[in-house]
């Protein structure tokens, strides 16, 4: 209760300061909260952008497709490289190195390959979401206590049983954290992709409002994007909690 009160207080303080400060600046560039609220109402009532639901839907679909690809390829490649001993050790530095390159540098080439449509956004979301997943699998496999595998073998477990009953449960925590980080980055990738160049999607709308100096609407759309990200992360947190309980 006290934490909540402090949070609300802090938020009001920031908003108040913002209001006071922005009121004295160029109204075209600096928007006080009192102007964002009406813009938000207009956006949500679909008065400002009647096609907002379609754009939102497109972004959501791009995120889901990109994430499905990131998880599928990330898990597949991770286990392929991680399970045979030593192979993971060879490839992990390469993957980590690629991951360290600012991913935005890939985006122009993705646009050239996949065009201005959803495909390039999906590709970029995939690229960002894929690395945390594959690295989590590699780290997870490597961090499995060897003694547990020795014990399992002595108790009669073969390779398959060791994988299902020892390696998977032992790496659940690392894997789930990687899957969640991957989802967050996929969302970022898709929206950034849309902002950098698109004809539709939430990022496109944000870029559009910003380009026409409709700053209040831009801020309102940014809040919509924030809500979308938080909603997706909320679902992910729920799923993670369930998976952890299931894995014990």
């Amino acid at each position: 209760m006290r934490v909540l009160g402090t949070r609300v207080g802090l938020l009001l303080l920031v908003l108040g300061a913002w209001e006071l400060w922005a009121g004295r600046q160029d109204p075209l560039l600096y928007i006080p909260p009192s102007k964002v609220l009406p813009a938000l109402v207009r956006v949500l009532r679909l008065e400002a952008y009647p096609t907002l639901p379609e754009h939102l839907w497109l972004t959501l679909v791009e995120v889901l497709v990109a994430y499905a690809l990131a998880v599928g390829v990330g898990l597949g490649l991770g286990f392929l490289l991680g399970l045979p001993r030593h192979v993971g050790e060879i490839y992990e530095p390469i993957l980590a190195g690629l991951y360290a390159i600012p991913s935005v540098v890939w985006y122009p080439s993705l646009m050239l390959f996949f065009g201005l449509g959803p495909a390039s956004k999906i590709a970029f979301g995939f690229l960002l979401g894929f690395f945390p997943v594959v690295l989590a699998v590699l780290t997870g496999i490597r961090s499995v206590d060897r003694q547990l595998l020795t014990v399992a073998r002595a108790l009669g477990a073969g390779r398959g049983t060791c994988f299902v009953k020892v390696i998977l449960p032992a790496m659940t925590g690392t894997l789930l954290a990687g899957l969640r980080a991957g989802l967050a980055l996929t969302v970022v990738g898709v929206i950034v992709g849309e902002i950098l160049g698109a004809r539709a999607g939430l990022g496109y709308l944000i870029n559009y409002a910003y380009g026409f100096l409709r700053t209040a609407e831009y801020a309102a759309l940014a809040m919509v994007a924030l809500t979308l990200v938080m909603a997706i992360d909320g679902v992910a947190a729920l799923a993670e909690g369930r998976a952890r309980r299931w894995a014990g």
Binding site: V151, L155, K165, A170
Partner: protein, 279 residues
């Protein structure tokens, strides 16, 4: 397969009386070396050993003498480079939990499983139905003083408790042979002695063949019917002692003291060599 409790069935007991007991474990001219990047280290050389059914044999040696490697080879976890291992008459190829159960210094409990679920693991792999294996696991945890701890996770248990769960997990397999690799090595002296007493109780009841690896003279004298001393790297068998003292043993009595002196005489040089070679 060898009958597990011969005394229950007179016919089975008859056959055992007629036929001389074949050794449970035969190790013949075993050798193993470890190959690292820049050198080859011989771990074991020319090890031959037999263990009779229901015998309690202790392998005593300085650290790094390859006694754990020997146990892992007998258990089928590591293949030997030369020589062979026969377990109840058959050449062993890989772990066979129906014949051999193993306990290690690191108990290796699965942290996501409760004590009870850990004990059930081997039975689960053998396809024993859930209700039955639960019953067996409960029956094993109770006599080891872990009643009321069945649903605790390993992180909630003390070192001695964890090792008892690991031993219960090995006993659940109901195999005739139990291999123990310094099972109490990580415990404090008092707990160690108590666990030794407890293990003797288990051994008296189950009459398993036990091969027990340790570097503790005290433990070896307390538990064994026979003690073999290994040399430092490469590990060879240096001496063998029959221990005929009655149980429970007085570790400070004259016989025990004499035995300890004899064991120490054998092992002192080996420990010194191990120390000097930086093991």
């Amino acid at each position: 397969m060898r009958p597990q409790s011969p005394s229950q069935d007179p016919a089975v007991r008859g056959t055992i009386l007629v036929m001389p007991d074949l050794p449970d474990i035969e190790v013949l001219a075993l050798a193993k070396r470890w190959v690292t990047r820049d050198q080859t280290v011989p771990a074991l050389e020319g090890i031959s050993l037999t263990v009779a059914p229901r015998e309690f044999l202790t392998v005593l040696g300085p650290s790094g003498c390859g006694k754990s490697t020997l146990l892992s080879i007998i258990g089928g976890l590591i293949p030997p480079d030369a020589g062979e291992v026969r377990v109840t008459g058959r050449r062993s190829a890989g772990p066979d939990p129906r014949k051999v159960a193993m306990v290690f210094q690191d108990p290796g409990l699965f942290p996501w499983r409760t004590a009870l679920e850990n004990v059930e693991f081997g039975l689960e792999l053998q396809g024993v139905p859930a209700a039955r294996r639960r019953e067996i696991a409960r029956g094993l945890l109770e006599p080891v003083g872990l009643r009321g701890f069945e649903n605790r996770y390993p992180r909630e248990l003390s070192g001695g408790m964890k090792q008892r769960v690991a031993i219960a997990r090995a006993l659940a397999l109901d195999s005739p042979i139990l291999l123990m690799d310094e099972p109490f090595g990580a415990l404090d002296e008092q707990t160690r002695l108590l666990m030794g007493e407890w293990l003797l109780g288990i051994w008296a009841k189950t009459r398993k063949t036990v091969v027990f690896v340790t570097h503790s003279l005290q433990e070896a004298i307390m538990l064994s019917q026979r003690i073999v001393v290994m040399t430092s790297r490469p590990g060879r068998i240096k001496a063998s002692f029959e221990v005929a003292l009655p149980m429970p043993r007085d570790l400070n009595g004259p016989e025990a003291t004499a035995l300890r002196a004899a064991l120490w005489a054998e092992i002192r040089d080996e420990s010194l060599r191990a120390l000097e070679s930086g093991l």
